[in-house]
Symmetry: C2
Subunit: 337 residues, 2 copies
Amino acid sequence: MESHEIKYTGATSTFYFNGSFDELKTLAPIEHTFLITDEHLMMHYQASLKHWPVIVIPPGESSKSLDVLDDIIRQLIALDAGRDALIVGLGGGVVTDIAGFVAGIYKRGVRCALMPTSILAMVDAAIGGKNGLDIGDYKNMMGLIRQPEFLLYDYELLSTLPEEEWVNGFAEIIKHACIQDEDMFAALEQHTLQDYQEDPKLLDALIRRNALLKAGIVQADEWEHGERKCLNFGHTLAHAIENVYQLPHGHAVAIGMVVAAKLSAGLCGFADQDRLVNLLQQYGLPVSFSFDPDRAVQYLLADKKRAGNKVSYVLLEGIGKAIIRPLPISEIKTAWT
Amino acid sequence: MESHEIKYTGATSTFYFNGSFDELKTLAPIEHTFLITDEHLMMHYQASLKHWPVIVIPPGESSKSLDVLDDIIRQLIALDAGRDALIVGLGGGVVTDIAGFVAGIYKRGVRCALMPTSILAMVDAAIGGKNGLDIGDYKNMMGLIRQPEFLLYDYELLSTLPEEEWVNGFAEIIKHACIQDEDMFAALEQHTLQDYQEDPKLLDALIRRNALLKAGIVQADEWEHGERKCLNFGHTLAHAIENVYQLPHGHAVAIGMVVAAKLSAGLCGFADQDRLVNLLQQYGLPVSFSFDPDRAVQYLLADKKRAGNKVSYVLLEGIGKAIIRPLPISEIKTAWT
């Protein structure tokens, strides 16, 4: 196991790469620790989790609700969790979102740690302290920005990750390459998903690179006033279509990146649309999708990143070079049509 | 109107004393402001509130629930409240608690201001950034510590405050005097509730003194590691009995202070029990109550301020001189019996 400290404004997160459940026993003493995970993961890892009290929630985005929150808080009270509690979220983005939020508000805030179990959570969702619950179709309408005390990476957990979730996770990896890491983009072009699945060292290096890339961006702009917005590359459209059409998040992001790349070609001379399309296809991701632009724009209008009639849109000047442009909603609608 | 800035760790709160709704128009521009208030206050102040969109909740502690939270968030979405929203809580402690929490989590946090309408909120609940929602009988199981941007005091709002709420509020004023301000204790002995109700200058001075006293304690210990716990004088027992017996908060605190004073006499030589009892009675507060100690201790066991088998109990060495002692639960039970 190797550790890496990231200092944010008011907190420090320690990243433990190449760790395991054995190390969780040291990091999360049984007396104060309460695990939150979902039913699927509980089924797979029950034996490893037997050391701690575990709160189990249904899998999937629909668990990011006030009903599930109510249930978790009641269980924590029943388990006698005090202000000295450490809440550990073991799961993908849904679990890390809920666990982070619960830790942020339970008894006005207790300690939080995350053990991401999907590629997406390992390189993106678990990093940066953002968490959230949904209200109906509106995602993350409630949430906090609050850094976890530590993140523990156990790549063994990926052995039970379904193939489509590997593909989903690589959408965010390709996004990171697009906005800030041209070398990684080139390396991804040289490999396939299978290479990473079969070579633990290659995978460790990739996940570490992505986790620290994201942590670095967050570190520079924890409250999302500027640079952090780059992480939204591909996400403006993704958020507007993923719920309506029930698309996997990574698919929606891939489609969103292609549309943003087209916009970038027109607005800031981006010349590598084809390379991006090819890379996405190489990792099994979709590059186009037929959607209703009116409905997507309607979603955008209710979205939280809007200031007035413009939306901050992330564009590329080149591979590895993102810029943020406020675009009028009318211009976005044209691009989406 | 006079303003007073208090700088906390990561935020500044401005206190505007002797203000009015007219000044709220300047401080809270209509484009971005969303008021939260309760049905009673809406009835009294509808004309003054017509400038802003208002979210109205049912009065009383039962509104500090996830159902009301869900309703408020849906209304904010429908009102198109963005990340630049300013949420203004206009009300007593229940409204300021809900408004503070909503502002802390809506779209991962928006601006918050409070306009307290009760004595209790003006001198205590609205100050210090603590907010909370309840889960069943357990109070403030969810919440945050997050400072409001400003607090606006309009004493005209007290003209509709029921007499019993004046009495309730004075319990916290007497508490402040007990823990940190012997001169104020003496001044309170020289006056009656009616004096303060009839003399705006006397009232302004008292409220200002209490608001800044509390803000000063919070400033010194925002995250409640030490000194801030003094504010819990009388509250250990109060929290344990107020729900079970449906006692008004001020009554429960008064009873709790008398019990804490008795404990203080035995444990640290406190000699002014009689003065405290007399002062509480002078302001219409109860000084004894027959309750089931087993049930109260049971509540204490689930409360959030517990670390292991001991509870931090606030005692007095003298009027104006509080100390915090970790007491075993068994000793507390004896004192409560």
